[in-house]
């Protein structure tokens, strides 16, 4: 119940920035248009590059724009608050509270993600649908799978951002790791180019990394490239990373707590 309250507070907090939301939707849409035309040219030159057709490719672009803010690919979200509280030392108070810090921030970030999905996710998708030929989910199973895979994508992304913010316990300033991780996330999630186009070992690596759970996997589920047992496997891949990374968050937090106790902050 507490976590629901935390999440809904985060949702409301973001919903107060209306002008920012409108500006963001506009920007997402502009980038969507640019990438759509670039991909159309690419698939015109090679009509089945990476096993996609042109409609798949354009759909991929707009899904990516919809998920970009939802999964906070560049960083940001609730974990920025954490980094700031570590920097100012306020986190010491949080650590002694009888609530689980990871769960608290996760709830808050899910609230934020819900807001971003409903605004900066849905609005550009509608614009993409109006301007381009976009594929709708392949089957009810694909639609359901997609709906399940988005929260998983957010959790994976959250856990990575939480770990990045936690570096502030040791570095004080987490902006370096934040930028580095953001760059890796953009590249290895499929945001800058679908991972299906990555050649050889690079493709294999990209698909195995947790970043792919943030964009590539949900998009492929929507496009119907995972069906049956494979669909379950794709969701399990996301859930596996989510679980492993959340455990890592717990572990890092325990280390940080011990450090604070030993060194007194």
């Amino acid at each position: 119940m507490l976590h629901v309250a935390v999440a809904s507070r985060a949702f409301r907090r973001y919903s107060t920035y209306r002008a920012a939301t409108v500006a963001g939707v506009f920007t997402n849409s502009v980038f969507g248009v640019i990438y759509s035309f670039a991909y159309l040219a690419l698939w015109k030159a090679n009509p089945d590059a990476g096993g996609y057709d042109a409609v798949d490719a354009v759909t991929f672009v707009w899904l990516g724009q919809a998920l970009l803010m939802t999964v906070a690919l560049w960083g940001g979200g609730a974990t920025d608050d954490l980094a700031e509280r570590i920097r100012t030392g306020d986190v010491a108070i949080d650590l002694y509270r009888p609530v689980d810090l990871v769960g608290w921030y996760l709830a808050s970030d899910l609230g934020r993600a819900a807001y971003h999905f409903l605004t900066r996710g849905l609005a550009p998708t509608v614009i993409g649908l109006l301007l381009f030929d976009i594929a709708l989910p392949d089957s009810p199973a694909a639609a359901l799978g997609f709906a399940l895979s988005i929260p998983l994508a957010v959790v994976v992304s959250f856990a990575i951002r939480f770990l990045v913010a936690s570096t502030a316990f040791w570095l004080l300033d987490a902006s370096g790791p934040r930028i580095l991780t953001g760059a890796l996330a953009i590249f290895f999630s499929g945001m800058s180019l679908p991972l299906v186009l990555f050649p050889g070992w690079l493709g294999g690596l990209a698909e195995a990394l947790p970043f792919s759970a943030m964009i590539q996997v949900p998009n492929d589920i929507w496009l119907g490239r995972h069906t049956g047992l494979d669909l379950v496997g794709a969701l399990a891949f996301q859930a596996g990373w989510a679980l492993a990374l959340l455990l890592a968050c717990r572990f890092v937090l325990a280390l940080a707590t011990r450090k604070l106790v030993v060194q007194g902050g």
Binding site: A20, T27, F31, N46, G50, L171, I179, F187
Partner: protein, 277 residues
Amino acid sequence: MAETSTTSVTARLWHPVARYGDMVRLWVRAELSYPASFAMLVVGSMLINALDFAGIAIMFSSIDSLGGFGLREIALLYGATGVGIGIADTLIGSVERIGEFIRTGRLDQMLTKPVPLLVQVCSDRFTLRRLGRITQASVVMAWALPIVDWTPSRVLVALLMVVSSSALFFGLFVLFSCVQFWTSDASEFANAFTYGGNTLTQYPLTVFPRELAIALTVVLPIAFVNWYPCLYLLGRPDPFGFPEWLQFCSPLAAALVVAAALLVWRTGVRRYTSTGS
């Protein structure tokens, strides 16, 4: 009499430029006072940019040409727009954050100093970290330079292209950041034009529909960042059949955008001082 007025005019023009330099120097020194953090941010910036071009290069593992252009030709376009936005991004300092400055009262502080506001905002938080982007774009561009059949006039157009694209992006940053004088939390709006413009010009204009190409020539002249001068450098006829003289018009387009930006900036500042919000 005539002489004193000339000196005062030169002094009036020189003062802001010199102060820009002074403030920039201080920000750089402040930045370098955290060497570890600085090093990490430079590496991060280089990584972001390297991965950015890697994305385009990987495309070419599936295709031989995009919109009729090969990888090296696209590298030329990429380098030119990258250097341009990199220089502009370095020069504009905190222009993208004026909405925040309005909210925190920082703008008021700046308004009580005898240096033009734009100069103060553009020198604010000047960071060498952004040189990472300029360096990476220069390397990509250098890799593409051998494909140009160099003549003295092409050298001149290439140099003018770099200056113009920097000025054009500078103008776009200022112009669209001014939106924040009206709605202070809409800073992201500018990204569509600045970073969006950069992304768009990484691809040959032939990728886009003809109507968009026209709009990017006459409405928002982003095509002059690199497209027209690069056509000249590559000796290619205009794929849309647009006039050849457009290939020499980048400096003019840049001047127009900068002029428009300065005008809107003045209007924005005036609005701020007359509404107080």
